[in-house]
Subunit: 201 residues, 2 copies
Amino acid sequence: MAKTAGKTQDLGGAKGAQLSRELLIKEAARLFAEKGYNKTNMRELAEAVGMKAGSIFYHFKNKDEILQAVMHKAITLLVANVQSSIGDATTPMERLRVLVRMELGVYLGEDADYGMVLIHEWRSLPESLQEELLVMRSNYESYWDTTLANCQQEGIIKANPKIVRRMLNGAFSWAIYWYQPEGEFSFEQLVDEVMAMLVVG
Amino acid sequence: MAKTAGKTQDLGGAKGAQLSRELLIKEAARLFAEKGYNKTNMRELAEAVGMKAGSIFYHFKNKDEILQAVMHKAITLLVANVQSSIGDATTPMERLRVLVRMELGVYLGEDADYGMVLIHEWRSLPESLQEELLVMRSNYESYWDTTLANCQQEGIIKANPKIVRRMLNGAFSWAIYWYQPEGEFSFEQLVDEVMAMLVVG
DNA sequence: TATGCTACCTAACGCTTGTTAGAATTTCAA
DNA sequence: TTGAAATTCTAACAAGCGTTAGGTAGCATA
């Protein structure tokens, strides 16, 4: 998959820096999610993308910036998904359901690796590299805040919107560790249960 | 604090292995919570307890077993607290509130370091050392399961008890990262808000 | 064909780390 | 007081790590 042709050796520049960079981010997300950031070394990541460890530093200044790129993509996914799906809903209750389904979808679906890294490796990222991500994240969270505030105004939820948002944040990220798609509950059932947990009446 | 007398030098064995071991667990919990398991090295931990790195291995076989000991204490705290407080409540609703207050108290109170490590460093612990802890944890979780099941029977909550338990697990552990005791909400207000979020009507 | 840029490789450096063996010191019972 | 057991120190090893400098092969332009 990482090899361009049938040959094992793929010497010399070929596929363009952009593609290699994206592949690195993708494989890094997979490895960081599976083994953790600290226990994934550059040689391992290099092998996963079909190059040698030293070559990675042509694309990234250091290991931390790879982690940053992975997290950047994670938040980008969240923001992109919320923007493309929030328009489908009109009432606050519907928007809440859309948000629940969307965030759980990012954490539990095919992009789960990115969500895993975003949640679990936050403290592995030096503070100097956190700033941009924090801005993006608070932008994303504003969708939640306004929706939950509207829900409270209509009496759909009773608790404080800010607290509910924080709690859901944790609850959903934790789902990575226990939810099994082949298990007792389908994804849509999970969404239903969350809504049943939140909404009064 | 780690020094027995005013002297900086405190050579030789003195205070007994039990005390040193407990101090090591305590300081390890603090450091692991603050900096993370991987970024805390033995020399740092040793300095925190007033000994040299090599001496730690008289009390623990390796670094992993220190992490295990910290987590063991964390679960022990949870189990001890639930057993001593659950008796105060009679109705399912009261028991639920007791559990909420108790778990949040462990995560946010003076023993927060242990909870932090238990939650955040689970994947740093080799699987071979997880077994005992998993048994203890599932024992602890059974208190939640029965209480939530009773709440559902009485119509206090609507969603599936198992899912609710998982969600609260994540929600509460996440609170470590955002809750500030000096902030907008007092601890008891936080408990109230959680109950308002969960309970129908 | 010559030139320069792009993308990758090779080989190694230097630092940190967990861990260990053996010596040294303290404690405590006899 | 003496001797053994308990506890800590010293000093170093060996392995793994991120990172770097310099070399090399392919490709585009002229």
